[in-house]
Symmetry: C2
Subunit: 340 residues, 2 copies
DNA sequence: GTGAAAGCGCTAACAT
DNA sequence: ATGTTAGCGCTTTCAC
C-alpha cells in the first residue's frame, strides 16, 4: 500500500495526459486560438475526468484581470452590514447576482478593510451609501479600478465614475405632500448621519418644501449606528418636547419601528396624533402594530444596475460619469391614513 | 509634454529605488529573514512613498495559500442571504470580523456559485444552515480546504470537519415547558425545510416532548423561501382547521410575524388564545404589535466561533471533528405571557 | 493546428 | 546581511 499525496491537477497534468502541450490545453479550455475539434474534445474530457480547473491566482497573474468586484456598505466598523435592514440585504443580493451573471466574483468588504489586505484584488467596487472618504474607494481608484456608488457621493472630487440612486428629493416632496393631504400640519424629518446623500438630499428637499409653506422645519440627523433604541430615545425627546412634529419621515426601518414604539410609550396615537413614513420598506414595517407607510425603492434593482454600470465602465463599453435613477413608489399604509 | 502610462509599482521598482534586491524588499516587508534595520526602514519608506503593495495573486501563487475563507448561507438561489433575518446578518458580521482579525479575507459566496468560477480560491469555508449537498462544500474539501458549518450537517458522510450550533433540542424543550407552564395545552411547531438541522432537531425534540405527555403533535415544515406571506397562509390554514394548536414555536422571525398577522386577521388573541415563540430574535420581533417571545441565540458569536474553529483547523492547530455549542436564552415577552 | 518559451509578481532555498 | 535563482500555474506571442 502506498500513499500518494493528492495534489490539485495542474494544466501540465492535463497536457501530459492528453499528449499535447499546455498551450493547447489553455486554448481548448478557454476557446481561444485554433484547436482541432477532436483535440479539443479530448482535452475537455480529460480535464473533467481529472477534476481540473485553472488556478485562479495563476490565471489572474497572467492576465492582469481580477474578475472580481468589491462590494462595501459604508460606515459600520467591521460589520459587512451594519444595520439590520432589508434594504441593504436586497441591494447586496441584486448586486451579487448581477456580478455573477456578468462573470465577476462579488467580494463583500467590511468598511474597516483598509489596506491590511494589500490592495483588494478587484477590478472595481460598488460602495453603498458612501461618505466619500472610504479608503477602499481611493485604493481601488488608485490602482486603476473603477468605483460606482449606490447613493450619491457627497464630495465632487471623488474618483467615482458613476452612481445609481432613487430621486430622493422628489420622493421627499411626494411624502410631504401626502402628509399634508392627510391633514398633518407639521411634518418633520428624522434621518441618519448628514454625511450620507440620502440624508442630505432628504433634508435639503424637506427644508425647501417647509420654507415654501411657511412651516417651521423639524430636522433631526442621528449619527452613529442606527438602532431602534436610538430612535426611541430621540423620538421621545422630540415628541415630548416643545413644538413637536405631528408626522415624522424617517430613513431606516428600525427608526420607524422605534418611533412607533416611542409614540406608543408616550400614549400618542398613530396615525391620529402622529404620522410615520419610512424611506425603505420591509416585512417588519408591514407587520408592525400599525402597518407603516413606506417607500418601495427597489433596492435589488439599485444593486443590479450599479453592477451593470460598473462592469460597463470596467469593460470600456460605457463612459463615465454616469447616473442611473431608479424609480420609487409611496406605499400608503395605516400609519398615515388619517382620513378614511 | 510626455505621457507615462502609470503602472502599479512592483517589487522590482521598490528594489531598484532602494538599491537592493527584491529578496531584501520581500524580507523587509514581510518581516521574514534577516534585514539590517536601516535597510528595512529605507525599504519600507520607499514602498510607502511609491504606494507599493504586493500583488495578491502573485503572492498567493507563490505561497500556495489563499488567505481567504468562503462564507455561504445555504439554499436561496443567487441570494447571498435569502431571508431578511437579523440572525444571518449578525452571524455573517461575526464571521467576517473574526476572519479579518485572523488575517483571512471573507468572501461571501452565493449558493448558486458552483464551479463557474473554477474553484473558489479559499483555504476553507463556513457553510451556514447546510443541507449537506452544497457544491461549494465538496469543492472546497476536494481541493484540500476545510469546511465548518454553522448548524449541524444532516449527512454524516460529509467532509465537514466541525460545526457550531446552539443546543436546539434543549432549547425546544425549554420553550415547550415554558408554553405548558403558561397554560397552553397544545403547542405546535411551524418550521423551515426538514433538510436543515434546526428544523430536524426541533421537530425531533418536540415530537418526543409531545409523545411523553400524550400531546398530539402538530408539526408543519415549510419548504422554499421563508416569507411572511407563506407563514400567514399556512398559519391561517392551521388555526382555522380542525384541532388547531394553541401555541406555535417557529423558526424565522418573518414566520413569527406572519403568524401574528394571521392570528390578527382571524380575530385570534395573542397571547390569550395563541402563544407565539421564535427561534431567533430581532428588532422586528421586539417591536411587533405584540412583542414576541424569542430565543436569543447569539448569532454573532456563532459566526465568530465558526471562523475561529475553521482557522484553527486550517492552521493545523486544532483537530477535527470538533463541535462547539453556543448557549441560547429564552426571552419571554408578551406573546406568551398569559399569566400575570 | 500545435508547441516552445517568455513572462505575470512574488516567495524561499540556497549561495555568498 | 544581502543577492541569485528557481519555481508557483497560467496566458500569449511567435515560430513551426
Amino acid at each position: 500500500m502506498s500513499y500518494v499525496a493528492r495534489r490539485r491537477p495542474s494544466i501540465h497534468d492535463v497536457a501530459h495526459e492528453a499528449g499535447v502541450s499546455i498551450t493547447t490545453v489553455s486554448h481548448a479550455l478557454n476557446g481561444r486560438g485554433r484547436v482541432q475539434p477532436g483535440t479539443r474534445d479530448r482535452v475537455l474530457e480529460i480535464a473533467a475526468r481529472l477534476g481540473y480547473s485553472a488556478n485562479v491566482h495563476a490565471q489572474r497573474l497572467a492576465t492582469g484581470s481580477n474578475q472580481a468586484i468589491a462590494l462595501q456598505v459604508s460606515g459600520y466598523g467591521k460589520n459587512i452590514v451594519g444595520v439590520d435592514s432589508a434594504y441593504y440585504i436586497e441591494l447586496l443580493n441584486g448586486a451579487s447576482a448581477k456580478a455573477l451573471d456578468l462573470g465577476y466574483m462579488p467580494m463583500l468588504a467590511p468598511p474597516e478593510l483598509h489596506r491590511e489586505f494589500g490592495e483588494l484584488p478587484a477590478d472595481g467596487a460598488v460602495i453603498i451609501d458612501p461618505t466619500g472618504s472610504e479608503p477602499l474607494l481611493h485604493s481601488i481608484a488608485e490602482n486603476g479600478g473603477v468605483v460606482v456608488t449606490a447613493g450619491r457621493p457627497l464630495k465632487d472630487s471623488d474618483p467615482v465614475t458613476g452612481w445609481v440612486d432613487n430621486d430622493l428629493p422628489a420622493v421627499t416632496i411626494e411624502v410631504m405632500d401626502h402628509l399634508k393631504a392627510q391633514g398633518y400640519v407639521r411634518p418633520g424629518v428624522l434621518t441618519g448621519p448628514k454625511n450620507r446623500s440620502y440624508s442630505a438630499d432628504t433634508i435639503t428637499a424637506y427644508n425647501q418644501w417647509a420654507a415654501e409653506r411657511g412651516i417651521k422645519a423639524s430636522v433631526t440627523a442621528l449619527r452613529g449606528n442606527p438602532t431602534a433604541e436610538l430612535a426611541i430615545r430621540k423620538a421621545k425627546e422630540l415628541l415630548s418636547g416643545e413644538d413637536p412634529p405631528d408626522a415624522i419621515y424617517t430613513s431606516f426601518d428600525v427608526f420607524a419601528l422605534g418611533i412607533l414604539r416611542a409614540a406608543d410609550e408616550l400614549g400618542i396615537k398613530v396615525p391620529e396624533e402622529l404620522g410615520i413614513v419610512a424611506t425603505v420598506d420591509s416585512e417588519a414595517l408591514r407587520s408592525a402594530s400599525v402597518p407603516l407607510t413606506a417607500i418601495e425603492n427597489h433596492p435589488r434593482q439599485i444593486g443590479s444596475e450599479a453592477i451593470e454600470l460598473l462592469v460597463g465602465l470596467i469593460r470600456g463599453e460605457r463612459e463615465g460619469p454616469a447616473v442611473v435613477t431608479i424609480p420609487a413608489e409611496l406605499k400608503v399604509r395605516a400609519s398615515t391614513m388619517r382620513n378614511g
